[in-house]
């Protein structure tokens, strides 16, 4: 009952005209920022921070929260339409989303992303509202050993690419791990593979790599084909714009699964939205009856990561609100914002600033609704972009990817690097090396390496730290089982079980 009263108090705050406007503005800015690859939520929030000196803190935080989850919606659009992920959390959406766009089903892809995000986002807000303090405490149990376990489990999921050439998967993973190494090493304080180039000291930015390896590589690939028409061969029918019943049936569980995975990964500081979308996609592929079809334009392949990234962007607030510790770069900046407005976010926030907390939580219901409506109505507009002849669209992709790479650090060097990664992506495509393992290794490589070394420093070099703590134990066991699947699969085939109607590939 108290929860209900609190929520009603929250709505009384968030439904004032002023706060509704801030919420709408936040969602709109988030949507736009999400579309532009280089500018992420942290930059947008930081740039708007000084403008909020005179605004009351509740309105300001509603605005920023709107940006934060609005980005998760906006990032989808370019992923689906031009294969350039607008945000690192939308990388996985490129895989099936762009294929769907090529098949004339961009509208369905965008709507499942919006609807999935909305459902997962709303569930996420409910969970956050009911259990924020308990969830934040749970998140605290994640230390370096748990992070390492999580990363190992995620790498284990790569074995679902069983259909491809395992050798190529391993090479691709190693390239990703190598790229993650470049830059100043946190643990030893020594620069690695930076060749005395100051721009490389901070490492190679994820956005720079994906703009090249997805967007630019796609342009190089299409240069070889003689296409004069737009991406869309057939005329768009209104029916293709939206979800069919069959689409819905196929994606509803993916949305729920993605939402739950996203929610929990988002909670964990250093888990992050991008990791959440990766794990959701890989898990979906794992449970699917036809994993080999992922990457060819499967609607589940969009529903799952898009729901996950939105759920994660909301659960990421739990550590900030309940403990005053940032769980992501964006929430770290909001922490600075709170201080600017004279509020100390911390364990006492729920008591001292209940109006702010509940105003914020209730605004998330409203913001998510605004975003889903905004996106559904704009879909025909976005889709009609695909009628632009590909020869012209290509130019836009190059411009988009270049601006994206440039704005990360306001540095031209990054644009040249992006060009290099475009060539790498093109070569990998030609030689049929999968790109997903590379991108996954890039996202998780640094986390895996740092957490491994931190854990061993904590334990004084004793590896038992990974098996004596309950959470890590579960992760490591799951990881080891995942690594063993190919062997088990091979064993089953050998003994003839494969022929007796058992779907070996689904293991």
């Amino acid at each position: 009952m108290e929860l209900w009263n609190n929520l009603m108090m929250g709505f009384a705050i968030s439904l004032t005209w002023e706060n509704l406007l801030y919420c709408l503005a936040g969602c709109f800015v988030g949507q736009m920022v999400g579309v532009l690859p280089g500018i992420g939520a942290p930059t947008a929030v930081a740039l708007l921070l000084p403008l909020t000196f005179s605004v009351n803190p509740t309105s300001a935080i509603i605005l920023f929260a709107g940006i934060y989850y609005g980005v998760a919606y906006g990032g989808t659009i370019t992923s689906v339409l031009i294969n350039v992920p607008g945000e690192s959390s939308s990388v996985m959406t490129c895989l099936d989303g762009y294929q769907m766009a090529k098949q004339g089903r961009a509208g369905a892809a965008l709507s499942v992303a919006a609807i999935g995000s909305w459902i997962a986002g709303t569930i996420s807000v409910v969970l956050l509202m009911a259990f924020a303090p308990a969830l934040a405490k749970f998140a605290l149990r994640f230390g370096p050993p748990e992070y390492f376990g999580l990363a190992m489990m995620a790498f284990g999921l790569l074995t679902v690419f069983g259909g491809g050439d395992p050798f190529k998967i391993i090479i691709s993973t190693l390239v990703g791990l190598f790229l993650a190494i470049v830059g100043l090493d946190v643990v030893s304080g020594v620069p690695r593979f930076s060749f005395g180039i100051p721009q490389l000291l901070g490492g190679i930015d994820f956005i720079v790599i994906i703009c090249g390896i997805f967007g630019l590589a796609e342009v190089f690939n299409s240069l070889e084909q003689e296409e004069e028409t737009g991406l869309l061969k057939q005329k768009i029918r209104l029916k293709d714009m939206f979800l069919t019943w069959e689409d819905w049936v196929r994606s509803r569980w993916a949305i729920l699964r993605g939402g739950v995975i996203g929610f929990f990964i988002g909670l964990i500081p250093a888990g992050g939205i991008t990791t959440a979308s990766f794990l959701a996609y890989l898990a979906e592929k794992r449970v699917s009856k036809h994993p080999e079809k992922f990457g060819t334009g499967l609607i589940e392949g969009i529903a799952s990561p898009e729901s996950a990234n939105n759920a994660a962007s909301i659960s990421g607030f739990a550590p900030l609100l309940a403990l005053g510790v940032p769980g992501s770069p964006t929430t770290a900046i909001m922490l600075a914002g709170f201080m600017m407005w004279g509020i100390r976010p911390g364990p006492l926030l729920f008591q001292n600033n209940a109006d702010l907390v509940w105003g914020l939580i209730s605004s998330k219901f409203i913001g998510n609704l605004l975003l889903v409506l905004m996106n559904i109505f704009l879909i025909p507009l976005f889709v009609s972009m695909l009628r632009v002849p590909y020869t012209i669209l290509m130019g836009f992709i190059v411009i988009f990817a270049s601006i994206g790479a440039f704005t990360v650090n306001n540095n031209l060097f990054d644009v040249w690097m992006m060009l290099g990664f475009g060539i790498l992506g093109y070569i990998m495509n030609k030689l049929q090396y999968p790109i997903v393992p590379l991108v996954l290794a890039l996202v998780l490589g640094r986390l895996a390496e740092n957490s491994l070394r931190q854990s061993l420093m904590l334990s004084g070099g004793d590896f038992s730290i990974f098996f004596t703590r309950p959470i890590t134990f579960v992760f490591m066991t799951a990881a080891i089982l995942a690594y063993l699947t190919p062997v088990i699969r091979w064993g089953l085939k050998k003994t003839g079980y494969g022929g007796k109607g058992l779907n070996v590939e689904s293991l």
Binding site: P42, T43, V45, A46, L47, L49, P50, F53, L140, R141, F142, G143, P144, L184, D185, V186, V187, S188, G189, V190, P191, G196, P198, Q199, L200, L201, G202, P269, A270, P319, L323, G324, V325, P326, P329, A332, I333, L335, A336, M339, M340, G342, R344, P345, G346, P347, L348, N409, N410, N411, N450, Q454, M457, L458, G460
Partner: protein, 330 residues
């Protein structure tokens, strides 16, 4: 037409007068140098970080106190642990409309990175404005009631007490090494990516203690989840007056985590004096004390251009010594 002597004389007077006027004018102009276009404030770190907040606070207060006829344009040039932005300012000699946020990390960074990175010698020091104190913080239920308890535990079983901090070679790590030397102990230093990750690891009980600035732990301190046990400062900090310094606890060291302002090299003394005065007047304002120092829990430390130069030089020596000690400089 031939010039009459009178005309010549008049001409000479006019010439002299004009010359005098020019000289006076130049002198006047020099004494009252004023920026004639917007001033670029380069922040060599990402938006939202400590330096960014600092620059934006300065911008806000200079504006509200009307201390500058021109506006500030804040430009984030992150990358290379601050070296990219810093070097870009060092490569704009004589630019009178450019400033740079300058913190201790920009002194220690180039030492570890080595060639190519600009040091304080390649810049003009304008003024130091504040400093951030380094505390050792433990969880409320920690067996370490005082810093002596921690040292005793570390002496009993060397290399088992875990202390978290930011990346190896950065402020927390250097401070930790100074502490180890002063107390003659060895701890397990665990480097994390950010201050936020440190406090999270402490709250989760993954490390026994952490190095942190007040801005990072005071909210949790208010909620009685953590408590600071010592501060690496020459005297106690007003805000947390109950916390003893390392010095008075018998461990002879202090550490300066400072925040200042620098300018490009080769700018005239008048320009430096102009910015110096502006910064002095800003740090004297109530807005600075309330909206920056108090809010972010920093201590005031104003030093003028000359004193800041000496201060930075002294710190560079200390940093170089520690970095050599931990093997980051050969």
């Amino acid at each position: 037409m031939k010039e009459s002597p009178f005309q010549v004389k008049a001409f000479r007077i006019v010439m002299l007068a004009t010359l005098a006027l020019f000289v006076c004018g130049a002198a006047l102009q020099a004494a009252e140098w004023k920026p004639t276009k917007p001033i670029n404030v380069v922040v060599p770190y990402a938006p939202g970080g400590g330096s960014d907040v600092y620059a934006r606070a300065i911008d806000g207060i200079v504006k509200s106190e009307k201390l500058c006829p021109q506006r500030f344009i804040i430009e984030n040039k992150p990358g290379g642990s601050g070296t990219i932005g810093t070097t870009s300012v060092a490569q704009s000699p004589g630019n009178e409309h450019m400033l740079l946020t300058f913190i201790s990390g920009q002194v220690s960074g180039p030492l570890a990175v080595g060639k190519g990175a600009a040091t304080y010698r390649d810049l003009t020091m304008v003024a130091n404005l504040a400093k951030d104190e380094q505390f050792i913080v433990v969880k409320t239920d920690s067996p370490f009631k005082t810093i002596q308890d921690l040292v005793a535990a570390a002496k009993k079983t060397p290399g088992t007490v875990t202390i978290g901090g930011t990346a190896t070679g950065q402020e927390d790590h250097m401070c930790n090494r100074l502490f180890e030397r002063a107390a003659d102990i060895k701890v397990r230093y665990i480097p994390f990516n950010s201050g936020g990750e440190c406090i999270t690891a402490l709250l989760g009980g993954h490390v026994a203690a952490i190095w942190a600035n007040p801005g990072e732990f005071v909210p949790q301190y208010d909620a009685k989840m953590v408590r600071p046990i010592a501060v690496a400062n020459d005297k106690r900090v007003a805000l947390l007056n109950a916390v003893p310094t390392f010095m008075e606890s018998g461990y002879k060291f202090e550490f300066d985590f400072f925040r200042g302002i620098a300018a490009p090299p080769k700018i005239s003394p008048d320009v430096v004096a102009y910015y110096e005065t502006m910064m002095k007047r800003m740090t004297d304002s109530a807005a600075w004390k309330d909206n920056y120092l108090k809010k972010y829990m920093l201590s005031p430390l104003y030093l003028n251009s000359k004193d800041m130069g000496a201060f930075v030089a002294k710190n560079e020596k200390i940093f170089a010594d520690i970095l050599k000690d931990v093997g980051l400089i050969k």
